[in-house]
Amino acid sequence: MSAGARARIDTVVEFLGPALLIVLVAVIGSFTSAAREIEFRNALVNAAIVIALYVFIGNSGVISFGHISFVAVGAFLAGVITIEGQSKQFVLPNLAPFLKHTTIGSWASLGLAAAVGAAYALIVGIPLMRLSGLPAGIATFAVLGITYNVLRYWDAIGPGPLTLSLVPETTTIWVACGGTLIAAAVAFGYQKSRAGRMLRATREDPGAARAAGIDVYRQRLLAFTLSGALAGFAGGLLVHLFGSITTDQVYLNLTFITLAMLVIGGVASLLGATLGALLVSGLNSFLSDAENGVDIGFHLKLRGGTSFVVLGIFMALVLILRPSGITGGRELRLPRRRRPVTKR
């Protein structure tokens, strides 16, 4: 087999890792009861969010605490713009005229959410991508704080502190599957592209990368904007999953959980992002069930609220015992046969 064919097969296998996981979860979910199925759909949308996070954090090595801002903006926009006209006038009287009088379909709202997520990320990224390390973390956290604050009180663009509801619930299991696959494909395409590889080089050794002529700022801004688009898109999926959204749903808790999913799975690989999200979502579901009583050989009933504790401890344990995450930052690879090394 030629080296070129081998490389192409390797690439396909790499993408198959996350892709198969996503499809598997969707297939299993489609065979469960309606109540259960929501959890599977939620897991898939979580994966989409974490993949968006990974596109920036995994490739650049810079931590962003603010990405849920883009999810929030995408969710609220996609939600507001798809609510049926009459109800919208009634429920959201102070809405800006453009938003009040426009209603589009769910598919279009996803595209709009992605576009707005990208635009917001670009605006935020232009000043912020000069920062790294802790200042970057704090600055992106500040963006999250601003987004939360504005969404909560500015009723010209949303419901303010109230719940936004009456959003069409169009994220079926296959929409969730497809949407997450699209996110994974975009992420994969980016990390294989020249830009993606250049950014990864800056992660290992920024000094050397600069010396090699890579424009660190530009590459980071590109990744940030792309991940903003994916995050906005995932936000659209999210709001169409539940048919409602509140500011608290897209703030600190979601920030922490998605970040932890990424780190647990393995911050530096797409497989890690996908696996971490699906695994932790699954664990969360199981623990919630256990709070109602579940049979696993013996009857297990946890006190209400225990699930969060167990989840937190699990996350801390993984981080302490295996800091590079479950995948160790690696993608799926076919095992290689060892060829003997010829001595010269």
């Binding site: 802790l134 504790v309 981080l319």
Partner: protein
């Protein structure tokens, strides 16, 4: 409320924030670790005070200090020691995880509704000085804040362990080569930082009596932002940043017109971003210094 009164209140709140900043800054200095779970120490103190609400104030306060310091040392030993070699990203998320876990434990034990603390509620009373109407707690906050800050400075400057801590914060590796015991220095940092957290919980619960599972979160986040904005590399610039944050939050809260007051967080966060972009080492930091790692 007069402007002078607003300023005095702002200084008092700034003092409390400064204590949080020192707590965070001390641990960062020796471990290069930002402890997001610091707020949980403050919450633990608050819950301890509520748990012992029927006991005399002295007993409750003593227990508060004991519990918080024990929790701080336990945090270091169980969670942070294994993380000493991890990357900054992992450490950050891990402290986040511990914060989340502790909050969930509090939720499990104490429930979501707030528990009222009345330990030093006498301090809510006020005294009139001229045209000013100042609450006792304001005096106590100022006094305790100043005393604790001076005490910490004394320990750092005049004692052996303080010298070791300052050396470790500057260059951990060389300090160890000279014989400075890493574990001891770090544990001591957590001890002082726990002491300060307990003090903050006692002072805070006088005015903010309802202790919820996320009681300590907002002050910690704001103080942390203040620390980074003030300048993380030196303890005094970090403290000044924390103080400035408390001062600004209180003052703007009092001086902003009612309608735009809800956007106060955005204004504060916006200012933070501005400072970080224009002067990343921090507002009060001296010239750029390289930060030594362990």
């Amino acid at each position: 409320m007069t402007d002078v009164q607003a300023i005095i209140d702002a200084i008092a709140l700034g003092a409390v924030y400064a204590l949080v900043a020192v707590g965070i800054g001390l641990v960062f200095g020796v471990m290069r670790l930002i402890n997001f779970a610091y707020g949980e120490l403050i919450t633990a103190g608050g819950f301890t005070l509520w748990w012992l609400r029927d006991q005399p104030a002295a007993v409750a306060i003593l227990a508060c200090f004991a519990v918080v310091i024990a929790l701080s040392l336990a945090m270091e030993r169980v969670a942070f020691r294994p993380l000493r070699r991890a990357s900054p990203a992992t450490m950050l998320v891990a402290t986040f995880a511990i914060s989340f876990t502790l909050q969930s434990i509090y939720l499990l034990i104490f429930g979501p509704r707030g528990n009222p603390v009345s330990t030093l509620s006498g301090l809510q009373g006020a005294v009139n000085i001229g045209s000013l109407h100042i609450r006792w707690i304001t005096f106590v906050s100022l006094g305790c804040g100043a005393a604790l800050l001076l005490g910490t400075a004394f320990i750092l400057d005049r004692t052996n362990i303080g010298l070791h801590m300052r050396a470790a914060a500057t260059d951990f590796r060389t300090s160890r080569i000279l014989g400075v015991r890493a574990n001891r220095v770090i544990a001591f940092a957590f001890l002082i930082s726990g002491f300060l957290a307990a003090s903050v919980s006692v002072l805070l619960t006088v005015e903010d009596q309802l202790v919820t599972p996320d009681y300590g979160v907002s002050i910690t986040i704001l103080a942390l932002i203040g620390v980074v904005v003030g300048g993380l590399d030196r303890l005094w610039s970090a403290t000044l940043g924390g103080f400035a944050m408390g001062f600004a939050t209180s003052l703007f809260g009092d001086l902003l017109p009612a309608g735009s007051r809800v956007y106060l967080p955005s204004i504060v966060f916006g200012a933070v971003i501005l400072v970080l972009i224009l002067r990343p080492p921090g507002l009060f930091a001296p010239s750029r210094r390289p930060v030594e790692r362990m």
